[in-house]
């Protein structure tokens, strides 16, 4: 069975639809959402509709920092541009959407895997996994063999070594990486709705249970359409521009 893992959708309907279609063509039978469903983009309601429907069919969905911010609270730790997008998004959400978001857990464990938005270590602290040290802390906080995260918008893998130190690996898009049973792995799924590694194509991860291999896929989508909607909604221009260049 193949499971598609999607992180950081950020209200980008075009990217979400493109990734779901791609994943289905690739044989995905299940979907996992790794948080930050909202924020930045102009289609929060349409995105939540799709995700809530998949959640009803059994797709695990965890909460991201942007999803939490959409529910309320002061945003003084957030910089101005995303804050503006959160205020805008809050106004779009009805009670149904807010209930859905409020019901999302911070982490979900499934078989030998853990799904969490930022780090398994204090998920609510929204720590960025920016190096081996943060990755090690995250793995130390759970007994799961594989931890799937989002939050960091660059796809990357970390793995344990017999020597103790964690090492990272930049996968090649479309090339399956066998996740050896004798190691533990932390997989950063990459961002569906706002890639920042210079490649504007949407990114998600696919896990193949039979072979134990993980693949990062890059999916080109109509980023200009998503950007235009951001401009039309009156959201900050920078949020539109960055989709078209993947920054």
């Amino acid at each position: 069975m193949r499971t598609a893992l999607l992180a950081d959708i950020h209200s980008n309907l075009e990217a979400l639809q493109a990734c779901l279609a791609h994943a289905r063509r690739e044989g995905a039978e299940r979907f996992v959402f790794l948080g930050d469903l909202l924020g930045y983009g102009a289609d929060p309601l349409a995105c939540l509709d799709i995700i809530a429907e998949l959640a009803e069919q059994g797709a695990p969905v965890v909460r991201g920092n942007h999803d939490a911010a959409c529910l309320g609270g002061d945003l003084h730790e957030m910089s101005l541009t995303p804050r503006e997008a959160i205020y805008w998004t809050r106004k779009q959400l009805g009670p149904r959407e807010r209930d859905f978001l409020a019901g999302l857990p911070l982490a979900i464990a499934e078989v030998d895997r853990l799904y969490v938005h930022a780090s398994a270590d204090q998920p609510e602290a929204w720590t960025y996994i920016t190096g081996a040290q943060e990755a090690a802390q995250s793995l130390a906080a759970t007994s799961a063999r594989i931890v799937f995260v989002g939050h960091v918008h660059h796809p990357l893998l970390y793995f344990t070594t017999p020597g103790g130190a964690l090492r990272s690996f930049q996968s090649v898009p479309g090339v399956p990486v066998p996740l050896s049973d004798y190691r533990r792995w932390l997989v950063i799924a990459g961002a569906v709705g706002q890639p920042r590694d210079g490649n504007p194509a949407a990114c998600y991860a696919m896990l193949d249970a039979a072979s134990g291999a993980m693949t990062h896929f890059r999916v080109p989508y109509d980023a200009h359409a998503a950007a235009k909607k951001i401009l039309n909604a009156g959201l900050p221009e920078r949020l539109a521009w960055r989709l078209t260049v993947g920054q």
Binding site: L157, F159, T161, P162, G163, R167, F169, S171, V172, V175, V177, P178, S180, D181, Y182, R183
Partner: protein, 476 residues
């Protein structure tokens, strides 16, 4: 069930033991790191080839590198295709001990040839050429073996070399699980390349160094650097070169020493750019341009050694590359030349295409090929006439290439004979790992119709890309 109490790898399994859907028939080999068994499938159709099961010798106090080697082999072998690697059939784990089932190669072993060494030059060329072809097939799949040695080379019945034991191999698209400082065995003392000793595991030319060690051993019966086990003893090869083979075997041909010492160059960029270029040279020894290497009788003197040692200290870390990227700069370009076509415009256009390739692909090799019609009996079919035809063609091809200014090293000339020109060209391309064929488009005259069919068939059946060059009469 016997023999599989807790730890599969603790002791040898008895015949009849069952592991992961396979039955052990007999123990084939017991090595320091793993045991090999002949096995058969318990259920289902028997596969078209015999099977081998590999189980690491994991017991109390076993080397932790054992398991890593197993992970690496399972990961990389599962990704490789073609006749030069054993096919991976299944893999699994029983109570923490992994196992692999793969195709069993029951043909010859390169170690048998080593026991007969020193061998004559033709046999060395044939054996090393076969191993080089296998290494090239691996490099083309973006992988490097990094532990080529006679024990890891087997042969199929038709002479095809098969590489085994991918325990420290590297695949550029998969994580590198080998930790240099932890996995003491990151290569074999006899064949490890200088750059591997510096922790560089991304250069396919490391396998060319190991091929040089194998060729040296087959040609002389001796190892060029011995078989050191300590890191410091291995690192001597970073600045001390081996005794030239002809100092051991004076009757060794100059071309073979040239080839061996080029493989054993300390700097990877001084070696052959690809294993395909090595195999190509070994198939056509008469074409190998001889340099100072061919006549060398002594190791480098202390001054040069000291210079290398100092250079080593200053050596900047080279950017990481991958086999695919490296091979992309070193294609084998075959140019099919019709010596009867006297159009200057076509020759100029073809040479222009080659100059562009030389610019973009600095390590390329160009082979000019012309096909001669065989002489028919009754005419002047004497060996002398045939020989003079050959010579005339060779001279004409060299003359054709002269304006390009290709360095001698990058150019090879081949005059083939065959009544089927397209078939002859296609055979040559397949046999010598040609990456691109350049062929002239046929002219407009009715006389060219026959040759036109040659280029059309080459385009249709080539194992690689084909550039059909057409001179632009209006803009020459």
């Amino acid at each position: 069930m016997h023999g599989e109490a807790e730890n599969l790898g603790a002791q040898a399994l008895a015949p009849g033991a069952e592991v992961g859907g396979f039955r052990v028939m007999r123990l084939l080999h017991e090595g320091g790191m793993a045991r090999l068994y002949a096995v058969e499938r318990l259920a289902g159709d028997p596969p078209a080839f015999p099977l081998l099961m590999k189980i690491p010798s994991l017991g109390f106090g076993s080397h932790p590198g054992c398991l890593v080697g197993f992970e690496v082999e399972q990961m990389i072998l599962g990704r490789l295709r073609g006749p030069h690697v054993p096919r991976l059939v299944a893999s699994g784990d029983q109570a923490g001990t992994p196992w692999l089932v793969m195709e069993r190669i029951d043909g010859g072993r390169l170690t048998d040839a080593v026991t007969r060494a020193p061998l004559d030059a033709a046999e060395v060329a044939r054996l090393v050429g076969a191993v080089a072809a296998a290494a090239h097939a691996l490099h083309r799949q973006n992988a490097i073996h990094l532990d080529l040695k006679p024990e890891n080379v087997l042969f199929r019945a038709d002479g095809t070399a098969v590489l085994v034991d991918f325990g420290i191999a590297r695949h550029a698209e998969l994580p590198d699980l080998i930790e240099e400082e932890f996995d003491l065995k990151a290569g074999s003392g006899a064949g490890i390349a200088p750059e591997q000793l510096q922790g560089r595991r991304g250069d396919p030319r490391s396998d060319l160094f190991a091929l040089g060690v194998i060729a040296y051993q087959l040609a002389t019966g001796k190892l060029p650097f011995g078989a050191p086990t300590s890191g410091s003893a291995m690192r001597r090869r970073l600045y001390i070169d081996p005794l030239p083979p002809r100092a051991i075997q004076p009757d060794l041909p100059a071309w073979l020493q040239e080839t061996i010492l080029r493989c054993l160059e300390i700097r990877p960029d001084a070696r052959y750019a690809t294993a395909a270029q090595l195999a190509h040279d070994l198939a056509h020894p008469g074409q190998i341009p001889l340099t100072e290497r061919a006549e060398r009788r002594h190791r480098a003197g202390p001054l040069i050694v000291a210079k290398r040692w100092l250079q080593g200290l200053r050596e900047p870390g080279l950017p990481a590359s991958t086999p695919s990227r490296h091979l992309a700069s070193a294609p084998h370009v075959m140019v099919a030349i019709d010596l009867d076509d006297r159009r200057d415009t076509l020759a100029r256009a073809m040479r222009r295409t080659l100059r562009r390739a030389l610019h973009a692909e600095p390590d390329l090799r160009v082979t000019l090929v012309a096909v001669l019609q065989p002489l028919t009996f009754g005419e002047d079919a004497t060996p002398e006439v045939a020989h003079s035809q050959q010579t005339t063609a060779l001279v004409a091809l060299r003359h054709w290439a002269r304006p390009i200014g290709l360095p001698l090293e990058k150019l090879r000339i081949h005059v083939a004979e065959g009544s089927d020109a397209a078939g002859t060209l296609l055979d040559y391309a397949a046999a010598h790992h040609v990456d691109r064929i350049i062929v002239g488009a046929r002219g407009h005259s009715a006389l060219r119709r026959y040759l036109g069919s040659v280029s059309a068939r080459v385009v249709a059946e080539a194992p690689c890309s084909v550039y059909v060059v057409r001179p632009n009469e209006n803009n020459p």
